[in-house]
Structures are given as C-alpha cells and as structure tokens.
C-alpha cells in the first residue's frame, strides 16, 4: 500500500512536469496575447506592457520564472528592488493577467469551494438518480419498468445541458415560480444547476450500474447465494452490489474532474462564480497564469481521484492486486 502510494507520487511528479511544460509552451504558441484589445496600442505603450509582464523574455526564461522557486526579475515586480521567491514551486501561481487585481491563488481560492459544492450537489443527484435506476432496471431486466427507467435515465445525455437547463428554467422559474433563476449562495439556488449538471452523470451512472449489476448477477457466487436461499435483498445488497459497482467506481474519478471542468455551461447559465468558466475563459483571454493555475489544479485533482479510485477498486474487488498494478 505504501509502496503503491509512493510510486504513484513519483509518477505524479513526472506527470506534473510533462503537463506543465506542454501546456505552457502550447499556450504561448497560440496567437494573440493577454493584453491585445480591439484598440491597437502604440508600440511604445505595448513595449511598456510587455516589459512589465516579462512577455518580452525568451520562453524558457518565462517558464523558469513561472515555475520558480527563484525570482529572475532583477527589478522585482513593479520596479521594486525587493527580491522575493516566487513561482509555482513555492505555491505562488502569480498574478492573473486578466483579472489584474487578483492573484491566481485568490481566484482559485474563491472559485474552488463553489465548484466543489456544485460538484457535491450534482454528484448527489447523479448517484441518487443513477445508481437507483441502474439497480432497479437491472433487477427488472427486460420488463416495461426496465425500459421506462432506462429511457428516463438516458434523458440526461439525450440533449445538450444548455437546452435542458433552458427548459427547466422556463418550467421551474417562470411557469411554476419555485426556484430562483440564477445566482449562488442558498440551497434553493443550488438545486437546479446541481440537477442539470448531475443529470448527465446520472445517465452514465445508471447505465454503468445496470451493466455492472447484470454482470454481477450472472456470476457464479451470486447464483450460489441465490441457490442457498438467501433473500433477494441480501443477495443484491451484500453480494451483487459489490461487484456491480466496480465500473461505477472507475467512472467516478474522471467524472469528478469532468464535473469541475464541464460545469462551464451550467455556470454561465446559472451565473455561478465557479471554476469551470476559468478553464475556457483563461484560455480565450490568454490569461497564461490563470490557465496554468487551473491546469495544474486539474492535474492534481484527476491524479488524486484516480489514485483513490484504484484504492477503492481493491476494496471492492479483492481479485485486483495493487502490487501488480503499481
């Protein structure tokens, strides 16, 4: 177990290095800069701005300055003589180029808890809807109930979520005024966006659960258990669920990361100041530091989620051996 985690950590370092350098150089190679606006600047002013943000440095130097943990800026930020350690390695993601009154740390610090909460709400919706319909339809396989549940569960991936959100807003805000139309803070404001975001994952979870459950139910030990005369309830809960949820668990890792990045549309429609919009906006604004910040955050999340999933796998299926995996 320790050895497994240690090796994972080593791989994490490799991954981070690759991801950081690849995304840094990719981003710098896309046309346009953070300070381009519709109003072209006098060359003198543009030169001032470039110098101020070190965009006139060679790329390797910009990269090293970004990663730290040393400060290559001889003047210090803003012409100050003070030299301060900076860079990602000392936990400083730098100032945002777009939201210039905030550091990237500030922005992520504000947005991450909101996104996490939105993620939790939507994951609850997704698990509640997805797993229960999945199990129910596996148990009633082939029946009308099965078909109806499956069709209902598929609703979430049959339409783009901005269309679903549009319909739901019309229904639950304007026709039946139950919920607020947008905003973030109260429980009421979380229901609709959480549902819209969770619906997609509910659909996937329902299908994976159903597949996994069918698989599990046809296993020998389940049939043995059934033959032994255990109640169907016990069979399902004690035996089948364990194996049947395997695919679900493996899906939760990518899904969690996906919820953070994929919430962009929902965030825009429901005006939620979460992290999702930064993934797209920072790229289109050429806000290099913020884009790097969210990339790094994303990498860390995906990586740790996957590690957790692999650990959970062994808990659910003793046949899989971590030693072999690591």
């Amino acid at each position: 177990m320790i050895r497994f985690l240690f090796r994972r950590l080593m791989w994490f370092v490799v991954t981070m290095t690759v991801v950081m350098s690849v995304s840094f150089f990719l981003m710098k190679n896309v046309k346009g800069g953070p300070f381009d606006t519709e109003r072209a600047l006098e060359p003198a002013i543009e030169a001032n701005i470039q110098a101020r943000y070190h965009l006139d440095w060679p790329l390797w130097k910009q990269f090293l300055h970004y990663t730290g943990p040393f400060n290559l800026d001889e003047r210090g930020l803003g012409g100050n003589q003070e030299k301060v350690l900076g860079g990602v390695l000392s936990g400083d993601f730098g100032p945002s180029f777009r939201y210039r009154d905030f550091t990237v740390n500030d922005i992520i610090g504000q947005a991450l808890p909101i996104s996490a909460l939105l993620g939790v709400v939507s994951m609850m919706w997704a698990l509640a809807l997805g797993v229960s319909t999945g199990i129910a339809s596996a148990l009633r396989r082939g029946s009308g109930v099965d078909l109806a549940l499956r069709l209902a569960a598929t609703g979430g991936i049959a339409l783009p979520n901005f269309v679903i959100a549009g319909f739901l807003i019309i229904i639950f805000v304007f026709m039946i005024p139950l919920l607020p139309v947008a905003g973030w803070g109260s429980i009421k404001e979380m229901l609709l966006p959480g549902f819209c975001l969770g619906l997609v994952y509910a659909a996937y979870l329902a299908r994976l659960t159903r597949t996994g459950m069918l698989e599990a139910l046809s296993q020998d030990h389940i049939r043995t258990a059934q033959a032994k005369g255990l109640s169907p309830r016990t069979v399902v809960l004690r035996h089948a669920l364990k194996g049947g949820l395997l695919p679900v668990v493996s899906y939760l890792g990518p899904a969690t990361a996906g919820i953070l990045t994929g919430s962009l549309v929902i965030e825009r429609i429901f005006f939620i100041p979460g992290l999702g919009s930064h993934f797209v906006n920072s790229a289109s604004n050429r806000d290099y530091t913020l884009a790097m910040g969210v990339t790094i955050l994303y990498t860390v999340l995906v990586y740790s989620m996957n590690t957790v999933v692999d650990l959970a796998y062994t808990l659910l299926d003793p046949r899989i051996d971590l030693a072999e995996e690591a």
């Binding site: 177990m1 050895r3 046309k31 346009g32 381009d36 606006t37 519709e38 109003r39 072209a40 006098e42 060359p43 003198a44 002013i45 030169a47 001032n48 701005i49 110098a51 943000y53 006139d56 210090g76 930020l77 803003g78 012409g79 100050n80 003070e82 301060v84 900076g86 100032p95 777009r98 210039r100 009154d101 550091t103 500030d106 947005a111 808890p113 996490a116 909460l117 709400v121 609850m124 807003i169 607020p180 139309v181 947008a182 905003g183 973030w184 109260s186 669920l241 364990k242 949820l245 825009r268 429609i269 005006f271 100041p273 289109s284 062994t314 808990l315 659910l316 003793p318 971590l322 030693a323």
Partner: protein, 705 residues
C-alpha cells in the same frame, strides 16, 4: 505487500456520503450571503482591474465612475461638464493652458485632503512607462506627455534642459547614442552625425538647426545604417523599442566603464530615474501646481474635448498614501494589494466593500464624499453576468435592476416597453478592406461591394433594435458636427463599377473571404452580406470566423480581405473616429493612407476655431468615404433594460451612467413620469421600493413642498 481487508461496500458508500455531507457543510458555512443591495446592475463581464491608470473597458468605467471622481462629472443626460473634484476651471485664450481649482474640503476615504498634488501624482503615474497603461495616449494632448510615456528607464540623458540625446550602455561595453523626443516634437529638418577624424575628439549630432556634442569620445565609433534621417522620423521611433532595427540609435562605440561612470558622477549625464524626477517631470511634462488647490495643465494644441477627458475614468486620481503604504507592507505584491477592497482609497460617491471574481462588486455610500447629501443609494451591487439569457432572466425575476444588453431574439417582445428605449450610441459597425490586396486595391471594387449591402434589412431584420443604417464613419449626434454622407449608389451602379474594374457579372472575381470574430450577430450579418454579394454581383463569398484574440492578430497583421470591425467613441467628438485612419495609425488596419487626409486631421488638431476645426474633420471624413477603405454598415444604439423607477438616469450618446445621481422614485413620481411619456408605452411591474429612495437633500426638498 499487505492486503487491505475488504470493507463491506455499503460501509464504503456510507462513508463516502458522509464525507460529502461534511464537505458541503464546511463549504456552505464559508460563503455567507450578503444583504440585498438597494440597486443591482449587471456589468456584462468581470472587470479587469479597478486601477484607473490601467483600465480599458466599458465595464471598468461603470465601477470607477461610482468609486472615484475626476476633475469634472458629466450631466447624466446632456453630458455637459459639471463641477466634480474641481470646483471651477478656466482656459487661456490660446486654448492651451487649463487651470483647475480643486474643491476645498473634499476628502479621500482615508481622511486625506484632496489636493492638486494628487493629480500631479496620478497623472505622472498614469503616463509612467512602468505603470504600463493602455490609455496613456489619452493624456498625450498634454505637452511632454508622449515623451514621458516613452522614456525608457534604462537610459541616461543630458542633464541640461537643452540636451537632446540619450545614452545607453550595453552589456558588451558599448554605448549607443540617440535623439530623444522632448526637443524633437516641433523640430523639422535632417538628422546627421559628424564623426571626427581624430578619434580623441568628440562626435557631434545634428538635428535641424541644432547640434549636440557628446561629453566623451568613443573608440571605434560607428553610425547606424538604419538610423532615422529626419527629425520627424527620429521622433517617430526614438523611444521605447529595444531591438536594434527599430530603435533610433544614431551612433555607437566603445567606452570604458570608468569614463561612463565619470560623466554620471560629475552630473553631465543623469540616469533615467534621476532625469525623470529632476528634469523631465518638472520641465517637460506640463502639469504643475501654483498652490495646494490649483492645478495647471498645458497642452500641445488646443483640444476642445480636453475638459471631457478630465471626466474620463482613466484620468481619475488615486491616493498616494494608499499606494505608498501598500508598497511598504507588501513589497512584492503591492500592485494587487492596494486595490483590495479593504485597502483601496477612493474619492467618489461610493466606496468598495467587497469583490468576488465573476460574481459581484458591492459598493456602499461614501459618507465622507463632499456631495454625500445628494447621493441616494446606500448600496449598489454590480454583477458580472455574461450570458444574455441569464441576465434577461435575472432582470425579469427582479434579481437585477438594469442590464446592459439584450439578445436580438427577444427584441421583438421588448419593443414598446417603458424600460427598453434604445437611443443612438456613439459607435459604428463597419467592415475593413485590406487595400493592399487586389482586387480591393481598386476603389471601384470597394464601392461596388458597399453599394449592394442591404443595410436597412440588417438593421431591421437582424439587429432589430432600431440601429440606423450607416452612411458615414462618424455617427450623427455629436454636437455641431454633421458627418458627410457617402455615395450609397444602387445595385445597377455597383454592377457597372464592378464591370469597369474588370469583373463584369463577378466573372473571375476571386472569392471574397469575410473575416469576423466568433459571435452569432457577426455571423448573421456576414451571411446576409455574403448572400447580397453573391446574388447582386455574382461574387463567391466565404466566411471565416476566428476566436477573438486570433481575430485581433489577423486584423492587426492585415491577413484578411474584408474584416468586421467596430469603433465606439471615447469622447463626444468626431476626432475619436477620424484620427483612426491616418497613415500608419495603430488602429488603421486597412493599409490605406492618404497625405491629404493626414494633413486635414493634423490641421484640425491645431485649429482653435471650433467651426473651422469641424470643417477640416468633415473634409477628411468625406475623403475617407470617397476612397472607402472601410464599409460602414450601421450605427449603434444603446440596449439597456433599466427599471422604470430608477431616477437620475438617462440614455445618452456615450452610454455612460452616473451612480451619483441615481435614486428610486416613489409611486407618485413614477406615475408622473409615466404620464409624461412622449408616446404610449407598455408599463411593466417596476423594480425598487414603492416608497422610493431619496437622498437627504431630495428628502428635505420634498418635505418643504
């Protein structure tokens, strides 16, 4: 390795769920909700910064007008200057020197008194190269300001005020010498270098009828083959850019470090920072005070809209102590810290309470503001909703009292409502031609393409908000200026012109590519225009949309044929539109240039008589419309949806609104307003309190009645 004993799955699930609940509870307690504000407006996007010196956009302006105050404020409807931080002002007879009397007793939110020194500090900071301000050019009307912005810190300068040279020591022990701009501004004539035959003697540099001798001799002197040859050329490129090709250095040679240090030690040369502080600031940048409350500014040429600029948000003052204290406390990140809600010091009617990225900016009434008696709103929320449909929904459900744009798809339903009254706005939507590229180098082709555009249909059927088909670059509605009208022509005339240019019936005409940035409206307009060109002229048309930043890059580098553009006026004067197309201007982006046009624009800049000035500008614009490097399509209108109960607010050509004057009307006043509508409007359920919300001054007045 050890085998982890398998837990029963439901325990795992239960633990997972518990964890989730805990996490959510933790997070929930963090984001405490704010009390609802008196007034909530949408800003359309998150502001980039609240530092007046480095802002660029409309959303930033909306916040800055609430928390800062410039020398003047503008009348909410007519935009005439009203006393702001300056109680009064006057201008000299030649129109060059302005004097502002700063309001006595006005305060900053940290208790400091507002003085003329604040403007000296703020405007120098605004123009300073290290501030990296976008809008610095807006103050380049001030004498010496342009050179000040371009003054590189890493160079040395002649200490004498009549000195005109800069010196830069490079890492390889060489010294480069060039002309700097303070003395070049009004200079004409040739630039040349005299290298002495005896290497021990000192070289001389001549510009027009002046010359300067270097304070030292150089070994292996060499002149720059790409050096500027005229004073005008030297002025255009002597500052700012580092690369040898672009910089205006005239002469270089080797110099020992001790010699270099010697000329600095004996005060013949000053390093950049010292020069700026001791010579350039006081002598060249013409902003000065005569006492603590009198500010003087001298301009390069009479600029009638200079007064308006002093109410334009980049020229708003900042507090010295605010920045200085931040620099001391957070040497490495003071540039962010001084702007935090808890640190920022302002002088406007409102103060900053809280900022949440992509969410809201909360403002509260500033009780120490000199005119607080006339401010009604106690708190204002400024939201950053970007999605059209969301902001409309927020407005309709009362979550928001004003939004700044509406989607064209809902305009039909909004027409005739009392809260939606689009009015002309100082902006023009147009296409640029790349006149360097055949066949668009032929004016007949450009005219033919212009003549068949269904402008009226684009306004009525695509934009739908009462936009007006454009017949000029400058929209009408700027004071006394009547823009010339271009030849609108007819499809027949267009076909004849195209045939005359060698493409009868569009035969052999290379496919046109319309370039625009990704957006539904731009795409719709481009499709309509493409169809018109195909149908009327038989020209094949392709569309090419690009993501915003790539689009800007493409446009800047003239890698397009026809490109969608727009321009919004910064101030209510035709110059903001017309000086865009001078030869080589940064915002020209067409490759077009015409010496006569340049002459007219320059003449207008120097003209004192307003009548003549507008005449010059009119002639220039007529020339532009004749040659047609651009293809005007429509003039903008405002798209605000504003709660009918809001008082002290009015639509105007700059779409600027002033929170200082805002108040909520009570039912009686609202009824009165409705009775005075010029025509029948559909009334809507009003936002805001039925009993209204008035400033203390208004309340006293109402009680007296």
């Amino acid at each position: 390795m050890a085998i982890v004993p398998p837990l029963p799955s439901r325990h795992v699930l239960a633990m997972l769920l518990l964890g989730l609940v805990f996490a959510s509870a933790l997070v929930l307690t963090r984001g405490a909700s704010l009390e609802p504000a008196d007034y909530v407006m949408n800003n359309g996007s998150e502001v980039q910064t609240l530092d007046p010196a480095t802002v660029t956009g409309v959303p930033e302006g909306r916040v800055l007008r609430a928390i800062f105050e410039g020398l003047i404020v503008k009348h909410p409807k007519t935009l005439e200057p009203l006393p702001g931080s300056a109680e009064s002002w006057e201008v000299s007879d030649d129109g060059l020197t302005w004097t502002f009397h700063i309001r006595r007793g006005a305060q900053w939110t940290n208790g400091d008194e507002l003085t003329a020194e604040d403007w000296i500090y703020s405007w120098r900071r605004f123009l300073h190269p290290l501030t990296a301000s976008y809008y610095a050019y807006q103050l380049w009307y001030v004498a010496g300001a342009r050179q000040y912005t371009r003054q590189p810190e890493d160079r040395s300068f002649d200490a004498s005020p009549t000195g005109g040279l800069w010196y830069q020591r490079t890492s390889d022990g060489q010294v480069k010498v060039g002309l700097h701009g303070y003395l070049l501004e009004h200079m004409t004539g040739e630039v040349s270098v005299t290298l002495p035959s005896n290497p021990a003697q000192k070289p001389t540099i001549h510009a027009g009828d002046q010359s300067w001798t270097l304070p030292f001799s150089l070994t292996n002197p060499a002149s720059n083959p790409k050096a500027p040859t005229s004073a005008a050329d030297a002025l255009a490129r002597c500052y700012g850019l580092e690369s040898d090709d672009k910089s205006g250095w005239l002469l270089k040679g080797s110099l020992t470090e001790s010699d270099w240090n010697a000329v600095h030690a004996n005060g013949v040369l000053l390093d950049g920072a010292t020069y700026r502080a001791e010579v350039a600031d006081p002598q060249h940048l013409k902003i000065w005070t005569t006492d603590s409350h009198t500010l003087h500014v001298t301009l390069n040429s009479p600029t009638p809209y200079f007064l308006d600029l002093t109410g334009f948000y980049p020229t708003f003052p900042v507090n010295r102590r605010n920045i200085k204290e931040a620099q001391e406390r957070w040497p490495d990140r003071w540039e962010i810290e001084w702007l935090r809600a808890e640190n920022i010091v302002t002088n406007g009617p409102f103060k900053l309470i809280e900022r949440r990225v992509n969410d809201r900016i909360r403002l509260a009434k500033n009780e120490t503001y000199w005119d607080a008696d006339n401010v009604a709103m106690n708190s204002i929320d400024i939201l950053a909703i970007e999605q059209d449909s969301t902001m409309l929904n927020m407005y309709l459900t009362g979550g928001c009292d004003a939004i700044d744009r509406v989607n064209t798809n809902v305009v039909q339903e909004l027409w005739g409502r009392e809260d939606f009254q689009p009015t002309p706005y100082l902006g023009t939507y147009f296409y640029r031609f790349n006149v360097n590229q055949p066949p668009y180098d032929d004016v007949r082709v450009r005219q033919a393409l212009s003549m068949v555009i269904p402008r009226q249909a684009i306004c009525d059927k695509v934009m739908k908000m009462g936009q007006v088909p454009a017949s000029s670059l400058t929209p009408s509605g700027i004071g006394a200026y009547t823009p010339p009208s271009m030849n609108m022509g007819s499809p027949e005339e267009a076909r004849m012109l195209l045939a005359a240019a060698g493409y009868p019936g569009g035969k052999d005409f290379p496919p046109v590519e319309i370039h625009y940035n990704t957006s539904e409206a731009h795409s719709s307009i481009a499709q309509v225009i493409a169809l018109a060109w195909q149908d009327e002229l038989g020209i094949r048309t392709k569309l090419r949309n690009e993501e915003w930043k790539v689009y800007l890059d493409t446009q800047q580098n003239l890698r397009f044929q026809v490109s969608r553009s727009a321009w919004i006026g910064d101030y209510a004067d035709p110059n903001t539109f017309i000086d865009m197309f001078v030869t080589g201007g940064e915002n020209n982006k067409t490759g077009w240039g015409n010496p006569e046009y340049d002459r007219l624009v320059k003449a207008a800049g120097a003209e004192l008589d307003p009548q003549h000035r507008l005449q010059f500008l009119g002639e220039a614009e007529a020339l532009l419309l004749d040659e047609m490097p651009i293809l005007p399509i429509y003039y903008y209108v405002t798209q605000n949806l504003t709660a009918p109960r809001l008082g002290g607010n009015s639509e105007n050509v700059l779409d600027e609104h002033f929170p200082k004057f805002w108040y909520w009307m009570d039912d009686a006043e609202l009824a009165e307003k409705r009775a005075n509508y010029p025509k029948e409007f559909e009334t809507v359920a009003p936002h805001g309190p039925p009993e209204g919300l008035y400033s203390p001054a208004q309340l006293r007045e109402r009680q007296q009645q």
